[in-house]
C-alpha cells in the first residue's frame, strides 16, 4: 500500500506493508540511517523523530499513521548542522559513542520549540525517555541550556 507524507520538507511516497514501523521505512526503504534502532518498544528514545513537530518514537509508529503528516528526522533538522541544538551539541562536545544522539537532539529540539528557557527539571522530564549508556547526561543538560541561549541570541530556530 502506498503512503504519502512530508519528509524533511519534501513529499514522499512509499509502497510498503502499512504496519511497518516508520523507523524501518526511514532506515531500510529510504536509506536514511540517522534515526537509530535501540529497543523497538519506545523505551530508549534512539528512534526519536518529529511528527507534526512532536517528538515521537518511530519504532512503534506504523507508517500508515503518518499519511498526510509532516515528519522531520535528524537529517532534516537543518541543512548544514546549524540548528541551535546541533550548534550547542558541537560547542559542548556532547557525543561519545554517538549512537543515541540523534534521538537526544530531536527530543531537545522539540523541548525548546515549546519551552524557550527550560530548567534542569524540564530537561529531565522531556528527555527521560532517551537513554544514553555512555552517560553524557550532564553534557546534554549543559548543551540544552546553551542552545536556549543561542536561540534567544537570534540563532536560527
Amino acid at each position: 500500500m502506498a503512503v504519502t507524507f512530508t519528509l524533511n520538507g519534501a513529499r514522499q511516497t512509499v509502497d510498503v506493508d502499512p504496519q511497518t514501523p516508520l523507523l524501518w521505512v526511514l532506515r531500510d526503504t529510504l536509506g536514511m540511517t540517522g534515526t537509530k534502532f535501540g529497543c523497538g518498544m519506545a523505551l530508549c528514545g534512539a528512534c526519536t523523530v518529529h511528527i507534526n513537530g512532536n517528538a515521537t518514537r518511530s519504532c512503534v509508529t506504523q507508517v500508515a499513521s503518518v499519511a498526510g503528516k509532516t515528519v522531520t528526522t535528524i537529517e532534516g533538522l537543518s541543512a548544514d548542522t546549524t540548528h541551535p541544538v546541533q550548534r550547542a551539541w558541537i560547542e559542548e562536545d556532547v557525543p561519545q559513542c554517538g549512537y543515541c544522539q540523534s534521538g537526544q537532539i530531536m527530543a531537545a529540539a522539540s523541548l525548546l520549540a515549546k519551552t524557550a528557557k527550560p530548567t534542569d527539571a524540564d530537561i529531565d522530564e522531556a528527555l527521560r525517555g532517551n537513554i544514553c549508556r555512555c552517560g553524557t547526561y550532564a553534557q546534554i543538560r549543559r548543551a540544552i541550556h546553551r542552545a536556549a541561549d543561542l536561540k534567544t541570541a537570534g540563532g536560527k530556530a
Binding site: 562536545d93 556532547v94 549512537y99 537532539i105
Partner: protein, 700 residues
C-alpha cells in the same frame, strides 16, 4: 626503530600523491591486559599536496575518544595544522599493524611512545625536504602549524608542498620526541574530531552499513544457553509479506527479508522445536547455591601475605561477611549487528567491533578463505563496553551470507536478542573475613572468591586473574592477607564487561574494608590513608577527592561514602554523597579524583570519568540479569533498567596530573562507584549492602 615504506597504499587509502609514512615500531610494555610488549606498528600518516593530513586509526572508536586522542599524539609531534587533520579507520593487516582490537583501556598506553615517534619522524622528513630545497642546514629550520620555517630568511613551505619531495627521502631512525614542556596540543581540552558527524546523523555505525542488493536477516536462537534446533517448520514464515528466504545455520534459524521489519515478522512466524540441552533447568537460585557450596571447598591461592588464617583463628575482634553480585548485560545502545557478503573468492564484512582482527579470523574460518581475502570495514561502535570484544554476531552474519552466496546480508539483533544472548559479566560470590587489633587497625584481610571464569579464559587450571582482580590487586598493606579462587561453571556465557573483575570485586573489597573501619571505629578515609603508606599515587587521589568533597562535612541530610581503586594503570578515588528519605535513595554528587599519568586530553578524561560513573551506577542501583529455566528473564529496558537523565548526579572530576606514562581511562571510574554509594548508604542508614543491585534492599 625499523622503518618500512609501504607499497600497499591502494589497499587502504583513497588518497593520491603525497607523503605516506608507515613505521614498524617497538612499543614499550604498557602494563596491563592486552599488553604483550610485542612489536606494535603504528598508524599511518598521509600528507596530501593540499596540506590535508590523514591519520590512519588502527583502533576502533566506541565513544572512548581514540580517534581524537590518537590523532593528538601524532599531530603534537608532526607539528601539523590540527584543523587539517582527517582520519580513516585502518583495514585489518596484522603484518603492518599488529594486534588490532580495543580492550583493557590500552589504546593510549600502547600508543603513547610509538605514535609520538611516528609524528616526530614525519616532521624530520619534512624538515629534510625543506633543507634540500633551500640548500640549507636542517638544524636551523623550525616547524609550526603545518609549515617548515626558515627563521633566518623568513621563508616558509607548507607540509603539503613538501610532501612529494619528503616521500622520496630515506626514513630517519631514532628521531627524538618533544620534551613534555614543549607540548602544544597534549594536555589541552581539544575538541573531539567525531562530534559534528555524530550531531547530524551522518556518522556510520555498523547498523548503518548499506550495500547494493542487500537483504536483511533476523535469527532465532535457542532461548536456553547451549541448546540447539531439533526441528523447524518455515512454511508460515515464508508467507509473511517481504520474506525472501529461511536458512538454518549452526546458531539457529534465520529469516531473510526485504527489510528488517519483514525479517523480524517472518521470524515470529517460525515454528521451532528446540533441544534445550543440559542447561534447561538452570536458575539464578541454583547458581547462588552452587557458589555458596563452592565457597565451602578449598580454592586456588591468588595471593598470600603472612598467615591470615592463623591470625583470624586467634583474633578477638573478628568479622565475616558474604557478598554477591549478579550477571550483567552490556546493553550498548546499538544492538549487535553485522553485514556480510560471501563470494567464491572473497568475503567482505561491515561491522562495529572491538576485535577487527578477530572478526577477520572468524570470517576466514567459516568461509574457508585466506584471511587476506576477507575485508573488514570498521564502522563506528554504538557502544562497546566489552560486548563487542565477542565475535559471535560476526560468525552468525557470515554463516547466513555463506548460505546465500553473492547476496549481502545485514543481520540485526533485536534488543531482546541482545539482552538474552549477551556474553555476560559473571555473577559471583565472595566470603570475607577480617580482624582488627586492640587499637582498631586491621590485622588480617581474607577473601574466598567464587566467580566463573571471564570468557572461560582459565578453565584449564591456575587462577583466572580477571576473576579476582580488585581483591588480590589491592594496594593496601595488610600484615596478613589471603585471596583464593574457585571457578564454577553454571553454563552461562561470559566475557569482559567494562572494567571486568573490578566491577564486582572492588565493590566487595571496598565495602568490606568499610566494615572493618566501622568495627575498629576508624574514619574510612583515615584508615585507607594509613593502609596506603606504600602507594603514594592512590593516597594522593584519595586526599584530593576527600578535600574536594569536603569529607566529613556533608550538607545536612546528606551522607558520604568513599572507595578507591587502582586498575588499567590508573588510580582513582571517589566520594559519593547520598540521601535516603523514606527508603528512597538519591545520589546527589560524586567527586572523582584520578591520576592517569600524563594527561593527553583532559576533556576526554572528564567524559570518560562521567561515563564510567554512570555505567557503574546503573549496575549498582538496578542492574541484574537473572536466569530461570535456563533462560534470561530480562528482555528490554523495562526489565533491565538503566540510569536516566533525572538520576544523573553532579560529578566533579579532579585530574591529578603526573609525569608517569599514561594509564587507561575508559575503565577507570566504573569500579569505585558502587562501593562509594553503598558505604554512603551505610553512613545514612546503618544498613550494609552486601548484594547488588541496591534495589534489592529495602532502605526504609
Amino acid at each position: 626503530m625499523s622503518a618500512i615504506r609501504t607499497v600497499q597504499r591502494r589497499d587502504f587509502l583513497k588518497a593520491g600523491a603525497g607523503l605516506l609514512l608507515s613505521f614498524k615500531l617497538s612499543a614499550q610494555a604498557p602494563g596491563g591486559r592486552g599488553a604483550q610488549g610485542q612489536v606494535r606498528p603504528n598508524a599511518y600518516i598521509h600528507i596530501a599536496p593540499d596540506d590535508t593530513v590523514t591519520f590512519i586509526i588502527t583502533k576502533a572508536e566506541m565513544g572512548q575518544g581514540t580517534v581524537t586522542s590518537l590523532s593528538m599524539l601524532l599531530a603534537e609531534e608532526l607539528d601539523c595544522d590540527w584543523a587539517k587533520v582527517r582520519t580513516e579507520f585502518a583495514p585489518v593487516n596484522p603484518a603492518l599493524y599488529g594486534m588490532q582490537g580495543v580492550f583493557g583501556s590500552a589504546s593510549i598506553r600502547t600508543s603513547w611512545t610509538p605514535l609520538r615517534q611516528a609524528g616526530a619522524t614525519g616532521r624530520a622528513m619534512l624538515i629534510d625536504a625543506a633543507a634540500a630545497k633551500w640548500n640549507t642546514d636542517r638544524s636551523s629550520l623550525r616547524t609550526g602549524n603545518g609549515f617548515v620555517v626558515n627563521p633566518t630568511t623568513g621563508a616558509r613551505l607548507s607540509y603539503g608542498s613538501l610532501s612529494e619531495a619528503a616521500a622520496n627521502l630515506p626514513v630517519p631512525t631514532g628521531v627524538a620526541v618533544k620534551d613534555p614542556a614543549q607540548f602544544k596540543l597534549l594536555g589541552k581540552p581539544v575538541k573531539r574530531l567525531d562530534t559534528r558527524e555524530k550531531s547530524n546523523g551522518q556518522a556510520k555505525f555498523g547498523l548503518d552499513a548499506r550495500v547494493p542488493g542487500m537483504l536483511y536477516a533476523s535469527l532465532s536462537r535457542c532461548p536456553v544457553f547451549g541448546g540447539k534446533v531439533a526441528s523447524f517448520d518455515a512454511s508460515k514464515a515464508k508467507l509473511v509479506p517481504g520474506v525472501k528466504n529461511v536458512v538454518q545455520i549452526p546458531q539457529g534459524v534465520a529469516v531473510i527479508g526485504e527489510n528488517t521489519w519483514a525479517a523480524m515478522q517472518g521470524r515470529k512466524a517460525l515454528e521451532i522445536r528446540w533441544d534445550e540441552g543440559p542447561n534447561a533447568k538452570q536458575s539464578s537460585v541454583a547458581i547462588s547455591k552452587l557458589f555458596a557450596d563452592q565457597l565451602q571447598q578449598p580454592g586456588t591461592v591468588a595471593k598470600q601475605v603472612g598467615d591470615a588464617e592463623g591470625v583470624l583463628a586467634g583474633a578477638s575482634k573478628k568479622l565475616e561477611a558474604v557478598y554477591e553480585a549478579p550477571y550483567l548485560a552490556h546493553a550498548s545502545m546499538e544492538p549487535m549487528n553485522c553485514t556480510a557478503v560471501v563470494r567464491p573468492d572473497s568475503c567482505e564484512v561491515w561491522v562495529s567491533t572491538q576485535m577487527q582482527a578477530g572478526s577477520r579470523s572468524v570470517a576466514a574460518q567459516i568461509t574457508g578463505l585466506n584471511p587476506e581475502n576477507v575485508k573488514i570495514n570498521t564502522m563506528y561502535l554504538g557502544g562497546g563496553f566489552g560486548r563487542r570484544g565477542g565475535t559471535d554476531y560476526v560468525s552468525e552474519a557470515v554463516e547466513i551470507a555463506k548460505a546465500m552466496p553473492g547476496t549481502p546480508i545485514k543481520l540485526t539483533w533485536t534488543r531482546e536478542d541482545d539482552m538474552q544472548h549477551d556474553l555476560y559479566r559473571p555473577a559471583s560470590m565472595a566470603k570475607f573475613a577480617g580482624a582488627v587489633d586492640a587499637d582498631g587497625w586491621p590485622l588480617a584481610f581474607a577473601a574466598k572468591v567464587a566467580c566463573p571464569s571471564f570468557g572461560g579464559a582459565r578453565r584449564g587450571g591456575g587462577v583466572d586473574g580477571t576473576a579476582v582482580e580488585g581483591i588480590h590487586t589491592l594496594e593496601y598493606t595488610f600484615p596478613n592477607f589471603h585471596v583464593d579462587w574457585r571457578g564454577p561453571d553454571p553454563g552461562i556465557p561470559t566475557n569482559y564487561w567494562r572494567a571486568v573483575g573490578y566491577t564486582q570485586n572492588t565493590f566487595f573489597a571496598e565495602s568490606f574494608l568499610d566494615e572493618l573501619a566501622a568495627a575498629g571505629r576508624k574514619d574510612p578515609v583515615e584508615l585507607r590513608l594509613r593502609l596506603l603508606a606504600k602507594s603514594p599515587r592512590l593516597a594522593e587521589v584519595l586526599k584530593r577527592a576527600a578535600e574536594k568533597a569536603n569529607w566529613g562535612k556533608a550538607p545536612a541530610g546528606h551522607f558520604q561514602g568513599v572507595a578507591v581503586v587502582n586498575n588499567i594503570g590508573s588510580f582513582t578515588a571517589q566520594v559519593a554523597e547520598v540521601s535516603v528519605t523514606n527508603g528512597r535513595l538519591k545520589v546527589h554528587r560524586v567527586v572523582c579524583a584520578v591520576d592517569c599519568g600524563h594527561v593527553v586530553n583532559p576533556a576526554i578524561i572528564t567524559q570518560q570519568i562521567e561515563s564510567g560513573i554512570v555505567y557503574g551506577l546503573s549496575a549498582a542501583l538496578k542492574g541484574a540479569i537473572t536466569i530461570e529455566n535456563g533462560r534470561v528473564q530480562q528482555g528490554n529496558f523495562d526489565k533491565y533498567e538503566v540510569v536516566r537523565i533525572g538520576e544523573m548526579p553532579q560529578v566533579d572530576v579532579v585530574i591529578v596530573g603526573s609525569d608517569n606514562n599514561p594509564g587507561g581511562i575508559g575503565e577507570a571510574a566504573g569500579p569505585a562507584i558502587a562501593p562509594a554509594v553503598c558505604n554512603a548508604i551505610f553512613a545514612a542508614t546503618g544498613k550494609r549492602i552486601r548484594k547488588l543491585p541496591i534495589s534489592l534492599t529495602d532502605l526504609a
